[in-house]
């Protein structure tokens, strides 16, 4: 049972739904991150799915109560770790990947799988940080359809402090960028699956706070795109929220115009 204090709140859930990712630093000790980094550096081959056998300390990353609290908030209390995991080694001199989704373009608007990317070292922009296009987790676009995109105006780079984790919706567009430094950049990717549909929120839900922040779903544009896409995104965000809450009803108004003040009349014209 996770203590309530480690769970996300409504505003954080709204932000995850909108952005499709969140960056969190559990504040592991410097020694802990260093041990993992040294073990990664000492690997002679990439152990693939067997990375936990080589670096068992990684179990403590995903066993951390704050980390478990986030995963439970996003996936429900019955979430499980997937058997696939990978140590990404972005070597100096690398070229960036192309944009891709790790998911299979299933047409759903849920949080079925979360990627957890743990970075044992500080990642600067020169070290090939993970690039993300916010809000693209709603888009059903096979990765080969993304091959002609270069840089997006609203892409973000995961430049993070040592020990940080980026939690991502499985379908979000992302890529490793080029490593122009002289250090290998490590990232340990793990997957976590939802196992049951939500019957109620699995985070620290407060209806009053949820009503207060619900407007974020309707007004926040995180990546410039077509206006009609933005309208659809808002609809899909609500769909995701409904799925995550188990369909709870909030007393909210979607009428953005009601009560809006008119500009002051120019009395000189009277």
């Amino acid at each position: 049972m996770i203590d309530n204090k480690f769970l996300l709140d409504d505003k954080q859930i709204f932000e995850f739904i909108i952005n499709g990712y969140m960056i969190f630093n559990p504040k592991f000790s410097a020694d802990f991150n260093k041990t993992i980094l040294q073990k990664a550096d000492a690997l002679e081959t990439n152990p693939g799915d067997n990375i936990l056998d080589e670096i068992p300390e990684l179990n403590n990353v995903w066993g951390n109560p704050k980390v478990k609290g986030i995963l439970q908030s996003l996936l429900g209390s019955t979430y499980t770790m997937n058997s696939h995991r990978h140590c990404h080694m972005n070597e100096p001199g690398s070229v960036s990947q192309t944009w891709h989704q790790d998911g299979l373009n299933e047409r759903h608007h849920e949080v079925k799988t979360v990627l957890g990317m743990y970075y044992p070292q500080k990642v600067t922009n020169k070290m090939g940080p993970t690039a993300i296009v916010p809000g693209t987790h709603f888009r059903n676009a096979p990765s080969d359809r993304l091959a002609t995109y270069g840089n997006f105006k609203d892409q973000v780079l995961g430049t993070v402090e040592a020990g940080s984790i980026i939690f991502l919706h499985y379908d979000i567009w992302h890529a490793a960028t080029s490593n122009t430094s002289n250090k290998t950049r490590y990232m340990f990717k793990f997957l976590f699956n939802k196992n049951n549909q939500a019957k109620s929120p699995s985070w620290h839900h407060n209806p009053t706070e949820a009503v207060k922040h619900f407007g974020l779903l309707l007004t926040t544009q995180v990546c410039k795109s077509a206006q009609s896409d933005f309208y659809k995104e808002k609809f899909l965000r609500e769909k995701m929220w409904d799925n995550m809450t188990g369909g709870i009803k909030l007393n909210i108004s979607r009428d953005a115009w009601s009560g809006k003040k008119r500009p002051k009349k120019n009395t000189n014209m009277m």
Binding site: S96, R107, T136, A141, T148, T177, A226
Partner: protein, 91 residues
């Protein structure tokens, strides 16, 4: 001296050449050149396809205007224009 084709992919917010650019990739006709996601600040050459035309680029591919049948879904982002510029200063 040989004339070579430079290619510029501009993804615009709408099919209009005057709409805002949301993504960009340039491919230089130089052996081993790389087009990639930048890990540093990006120089945005143009704000619109129209700006690129003024700078001498020619559009060789216009985006499809037809709307998707599944209109509640979103898929790729923006509208893809491919532009070319023929230049001879690569030797």
């Amino acid at each position: 001296m040989s004339i070579r084709q430079r290619l510029l992919y501009l993804h615009a917010a709408t099919p209009s050449i005057r709409s805002e650019i949301i993504a960009m990739a340039i491919h230089e006709p130089i052996k081993n050149s790389v087009t990639q996601i930048e890990n540093s600040s990006i120089e945005w050459l143009y704000n619109s396809v129209h700006d690129a035309i003024i700078d001498g680029w020619r559009i060789i591919h216009f985006p499809q205007q037809r709307a998707p049948f599944e209109d509640r879904e979103v898929d790729v982002m923006g509208y893809e224009f491919i532009l070319e510029k023929l230049e001879d200063n690569f030797d």
